[in-house]
Amino acid sequence: MINDISVLVIEDDKSIQNFIRITLKSKGYNSVFADDGLTGISYFYANNPDIILLDLGLPDIDGMEVLSQIRKESDIPIIVVSARGMEQEKVAALDEGADDYLTKPFHAGELLARIRVALRHKSGMIKQEAAFELDGFYMDFEKRRLIVRGEEVHVTPIEYKMLKLLVLNAGKVLTHHFIQNEIWGYDTNDDYQSIRVFMANIRRKIEEDSANPRFIITEVGVGYRFTEN
């Protein structure tokens, strides 16, 4: 299977490059590899890829630098890769314009899912549907109703807004900062405590087991993600 999507991978470790190459090939993506940041930037200009995979721990320049350089020019979907425990780095990248992230070590499935979601959101293929449905979760945007596992669920206006935001971005991670700004319009300095509590309330309403959520995944230290499948 071949598609005409080309992925620019900016990553210095050879074995990871290999792994990514094989994974991408299995789904028919083309891939171009850059070993460091500067090469990556020049490949971006030269090859006009569809999506970029950017490792934040590059040998020559700061990954954030590469991110901001590319973002200045283009809206191209960018997925950042960073080590576990570097949550602040990921959040900073996301707030700087990255679309999603992967934590090393990651699985092939995660990689492909992220790429798929990022491409979908950027390609403009998503227009506002009238409703969203997934595995017993049904959200009707026109009628402003929510039905989960056959029963109507009542949510407060803010909860509705939050849920809608997550659902419209299904599959994509949303940082606390992003949610805060979208829902309230201004930033806060309470450590996003209120978002956490709102989210926990929403979860309790729609999840069967809130410690084992099916729909809303907490990305610890980063934000939230609504599953797409």
């Binding site: 425990g85 405590q193 956490r196 509590v197 809130s210």
Partner: protein, 538 residues
């Protein structure tokens, strides 16, 4: 000589009336009562002091009067018997000496001698009952009498002063002795400082302050800094900084200066004697400070040794922890590579699964080890944030999901949405480690449960399983660093005891407590108590 009669009559009349009244003088008692009723203790004390001084004067006067009376009586009696005037005069000499001894100031002795002389003159020399003398010899005797009286008075005065001085000295030596023995029992810099200041205040009556030099910071007081640097006294009355209201004395031993003592000289400087005593106390202070320093150094080197020991144990443990999963990964992958065509699908899949699982292990292990080295350096970077308990549990569940194998993970969340202040990453690792412990050690097919609920002011997390429990003898050491609870036979001892030791370190760094629930019957249950602020109300 003529006026002396009037004076004599005056003195005589006063002495008589006061002798009759004595201490039970009514007006005085009434005064005391009134003051007591007012309830003002201070003015009461002042009054008391003044009265006692008054009484003191009265007592001295009374004594002199008594002595005068007795001497006169005795002399008169003897003169009637026929004893000559010269001897009678000597009786008065004795009287004067007694007066000197019995009274405080020279004034009494001098004035009593004058009185005695004139009494003698009046009563016992011819012509009697006059202040005149027939025999000019008597004038010489009287003069000599006065001179003797004067000398006696000054001698006794000096004697008393000397006695007072000795008494004061004895008091101070006693104080110094007490101070000295007090120093023996001190420990801790703060104790030394407050004890020294108290003792020096006791000794000198002046407000004192002790400044000890820590590291290299300069004293804010310039004079104190100068005193320290030059190890010389300065301040009030000295060459340097003489205009200051305080005296600065350096605290120094032969080899080192430790600090500066500041004396507030609002009521004068230190006498030479006081300086000597202060030096004695200073030498005590320096001894104690040196002792403290040596103690600190000993403790530090003790800690250093402990750290080295832990480091080497850690290295041994890391080696073990990493090699075990690596053996699986290396072995399986290598085998598959070399024998790709020969392996059947099922075996290949199972090996690949093992490689996948082992690498998950390794991931978790690396996280633990990173945390452990951070703790080893003496600090654990905790970044606390208010996190939802549900999120913490689900986070941990997500991380272990791939290595559950044949185990089942159950979760129980608190009925209300609860928040606790934790470092999410670290606390999640605690739960992960405990779940891993269950996976490793509880046997096959067990159910591992993670639950959380509020209990009073704490949020209590429980991670339990229904498998084989921990043997009794291993219970005590379970949280010890690097202890391996290998209570299932075989090579199931993964990860040494690092996981549990880290749990303990992280929980305790948050101010929480982790224990084994001894009442859990079948299997093992770990109990974590985390301090909780009030729940978030919406």
């Amino acid at each position: 000589m003529i006026r002396s009669s009037a004076r004599f009559i005056f003195w005589h009349s006063i002495s008589r009336s006061h002798l009759d009244g004595g201490l039970k003088n009514y007006p005085v008692c009434a005064m005391l009562e009134e003051i007591k009723r007012e309830g003002s203790r201070r003015s009461f004390m002042e009054m008391k002091n003044r009265i006692f001084t008054g009484f003191g004067k009265l007592r001295s006067f009374g004594k002199i009067a008594v002595i005068w009376g007795l001497s006169t009586l005795f002399a008169t009696v003897l003169s009637h018997i026929g004893v000559r005037a010269e001897n009678l005069l000597l009786i008065y000499v004795v009287g004067v000496i007694l007066c000197s001894v019995e009274t405080r100031s020279m004034l009494w002795s001098i004035s009593s001698s004058i009185v005695f002389v004139f009494t003698f003159n009046f009563l016992l020399t011819s012509p009697r009952f006059t202040f005149q003398v027939d025999d000019p010899n008597y004038i010489i005797s009287l003069l000599i009498f006065i001179i003797v009286a004067f000398i006696a008075a000054s001698l006794t005065d000096k004697l008393q002063k000397q006695m007072n001085l000795d008494r004061e000295r004895a008091e101070i030596l006693l104080k110094l002795n007490t101070i000295g023995s007090g120093f023996l029992n001190l420990s801790g810099r703060q104790a030394v400082i407050s004890y020294s200041m108290k003792s020096l205040h006791n000794l000198t009556g002046k407000k004192t302050e002790l400044l000890l030099k820590m590291k290299d910071e300069r004293f804010s007081d310039q004079a104190a800094e100068w005193c320290f640097r030059n190890s010389t006294v300065c301040g009030y009355g000295e060459a340097q900084y003489g205009d200051r209201p305080c005296l600065y004395v350096p605290v120094c031993s032969l080899s080192k200066t430790y600090g500066v003592i500041i004396f507030w000289c609002s009521n004068g400087g230190l006498t030479k004697e006081e300086r000597m005593y202060v030096e004695m106390v200073i030498s005590q202070i320096t001894l104690v400070l040196e002792r403290e320093q040596l103690n600190e150094e000993k403790e530090e080197s003790g800690l250093q040794i402990e750290r080295e020991r832990l480091k080497s144990t850690l290295l041994r443990s890391i080696s073990h922890d990493l090699r075990t999963p690596l053996t699986g990964i290396a072995g399986n992958s290598n085998f598959l590579y070399e024998n790709y065509d020969l392996v059947d699908e099922e075996s290949a899949k199972s090996m690949l699964l093992d490689i996948s699982t082992e690498s998950e292990w390794l991931n978790s292990m690396v996280e633990n080890l990173l945390n452990m080295t951070r703790i080893q350096e003496g600090k654990l970077e905790i970044r606390k944030k208010r996190e939802v308990v549900d999120d913490l549990i689900s986070g941990a569940a997500a991380l272990v999901s791939k290595r559950l194998g044949d185990h089942t993970l159950k979760t129980v969340t608190p009925p209300e949405i609860e928040l606790i202040s934790v470092d999410a990453r670290l606390f999640t690792q605690v739960l992960v480690n405990l779940i891993d412990n269950g996976i490793r050690h509880s046997g096959d097919n067990t159910v591992i449960t993670v639950s959380a609920g509020a209990e009073g002011r704490n949020m209590v997390f429980t991670v339990s399983d229904n498998g084989t429990g921990i043997p009794e003898d291993k219970l005590d050491h379970i949280f010890d660093s690097f202890f391996t609870a290998a209570y299932r036979e075989g090579d199931r001892q993964r990860g040494a005891g690092l996981g549990l030791a880290i749990c303990k370190a992280i929980v305790e760094a948050h101010g929480g407590k982790i224990t084994i629930d001894q009442s859990w019957k079948k299997g093992t249950a770990f109990r974590i108590e985390m301090p909780m602020e009030e729940t978030y109300d919406q």
